[in-house]
């Protein structure tokens, strides 16, 4: 009898805290519809990984190492960066770069809205994190799960669990985080700026050449990002070539769904109480908020800077859509525009900036790796 219940005595308060965090993630996913595809598997995985002597994670029992399935999956799919890259094929197949191709100026807002990544990196170093962990934390500001996983894993950060939780949670919280920041940094007059959308047809040739050329450019300028950009653009090429409709649909649905299921639950192997229940985790969650906030500020202020010189004024709210959280950020900006003036439709401009943010965040991840790698 004592043997049966001996495991109960192994329960620690930190484990119970992780069950509560797991339950909270599941609740947010189901009740609040916050990134349910990832938060639900992560929440369940957090409970699974924090049961006493859980067989789901690798344990040393009586001197023998017993491999847990979550760790096996982590080594097979995340440690070698496979899952985030496969997910990028699906994301690439889902994205319509049309609004960006018809108005490529929006690319610059994507670049400006990566400011939060680098600002947060500096802040994390100031708070005492080493360069590798600071770079991994800063990349939460990429507002892009696969890039965050890729960079944190590249630097072998111990905080990967907290980083991923922060990245996905804040992506879901974009409609709450961005509006007050945008309002704080814009005037009513600026928010009322109208941007008529001129429908420009983009030829099929351009749509097909864009992913190929972008991969080549980013590969040459930022070789560390080439895997991420390459897989993203490969997915987009599947979509745009029009002769691989079934493959494109499979990438958007089956592939993306399967990888998402595995990714979410596998990340939980890094949500073990001994890695997660720390003051640092709380600080990382707060730094993630800083990253998203400064991304938004970077995009808005860049639009205001452009307005000093441009004849056709840009609504600075569009700059905020330059973060990679697609399509939430463009919807937020569009709704804010409609709230100010029900005849002001900013969706297509914001969508252009938003997909630009997708490319920019991947480039920022590669640039961060290249720069920090030289310092360590």
């Amino acid at each position: 009898m004592a043997d049966i219940f001996s495991n109960v005595l192994e329960i620690r308060w930190e484990m119970v805290l992780m069950w509560v965090i797991g339950a909270l993630l599941i609740w947010l996913a189901i009740s609040k519809d916050m990134e349910p595809t990832l938060l639900l598997p992560m929440g369940f995985g957090a409970i699974l990984a924090n049961l006493p002597t859980s067989g789901a994670i690798t344990q040393i029992i009586n001197g023998n190492t017993e491999e847990g399935v979550l760790d096996v999956l982590f080594n097979a799919g995340i440690a070698n960066e496979l899952f985030p890259l496969l997910l990028f094929i699906g994301i690439g197949a889902m994205i319509d770069f049309g609004p960006l191709l018809s108005n490529p100026k929006m690319l610059l807002f994507g670049a400006a809205a990566q400011f939060g990544i680098f600002f947060t990196f500096a802040l994390a170093v100031l708070l005492g994190f080493d360069l590798k962990d600071a770079a991994s934390i800063g990349i939460i500001g990429a507002a892009d799960g696969p890039t965050s996983i890729f960079v944190a894993n590249y630097f072998n950060s111990n905080y990967i669990g907290a980083i991923i939780v922060a990245a996905y949670s804040y992506m879901a919280l974009v409609p709450i985080i961005q509006p007050p920041v945008i309002r704080l940094f814009t005037t009513k007059k600026e928010r009322l700026i109208k941007m008529p959308y001129e429908q420009k047809n983009v030829s099929t040739t351009v749509r097909i050449l864009f992913p190929i050329i972008t991969t080549a450019i980013v590969g040459i300028l930022s070789p560390r990002s080439v895997a991420l950009v390459g897989f993203l653009m490969f997915g987009n090429l599947l979509r745009e070539c029009k002769v691989l409709r079934l493959l494109s649909e499979s990438a958007q649905k089956e592939l993306a769904n399967l990888v998402t299921i595995l990714l979410g639950i596998t990340i939980a192997s890094k949500m073990r109480y001994d890695l997660f229940v720390r003051v640092d985790t709380l600080i990382i969650i707060l730094l993630g908020l800083v990253a998203f906030t400064f991304d938004t500020i970077g995009g808005v202020l860049f639009a205001k800077l452009i307005n000093l010189f441009a004849k056709k004024k840009i609504n600075p709210m569009v700059g905020a859509a330059g973060i990679s959280a697609f399509p939430m950020s463009s919807r937020v900006v569009h709704k804010m525009g409609l709230k100010e003036d029900p005849t002001n439709f900013l969706l297509m401009h914001a969508a252009g900036a938003n997909v630009a943010g997708q490319i920019a965040s991947v480039v920022a991840g590669g640039v961060m790796i290249s720069l920090v790698e030289k310092l360590i």
């Binding site: 100026k105 708070l127 983009v202 972008t214």
Partner: protein, 49 residues
Amino acid sequence: MFNRFDLDNFLQTPRVVLLGMLGVFVALLVIYVSILLLNRVFRDKKKKD
């Protein structure tokens, strides 16, 4: 927390911030120019019709 602060590391950060943002802007500027060129070379034929 602050007792882990490393001044040498912190002094490296302005360079990373500046070069990082510059790197992102340069990469996206090159993509911007290439889209402009692509749109010019391969105009949509439907538009002409």
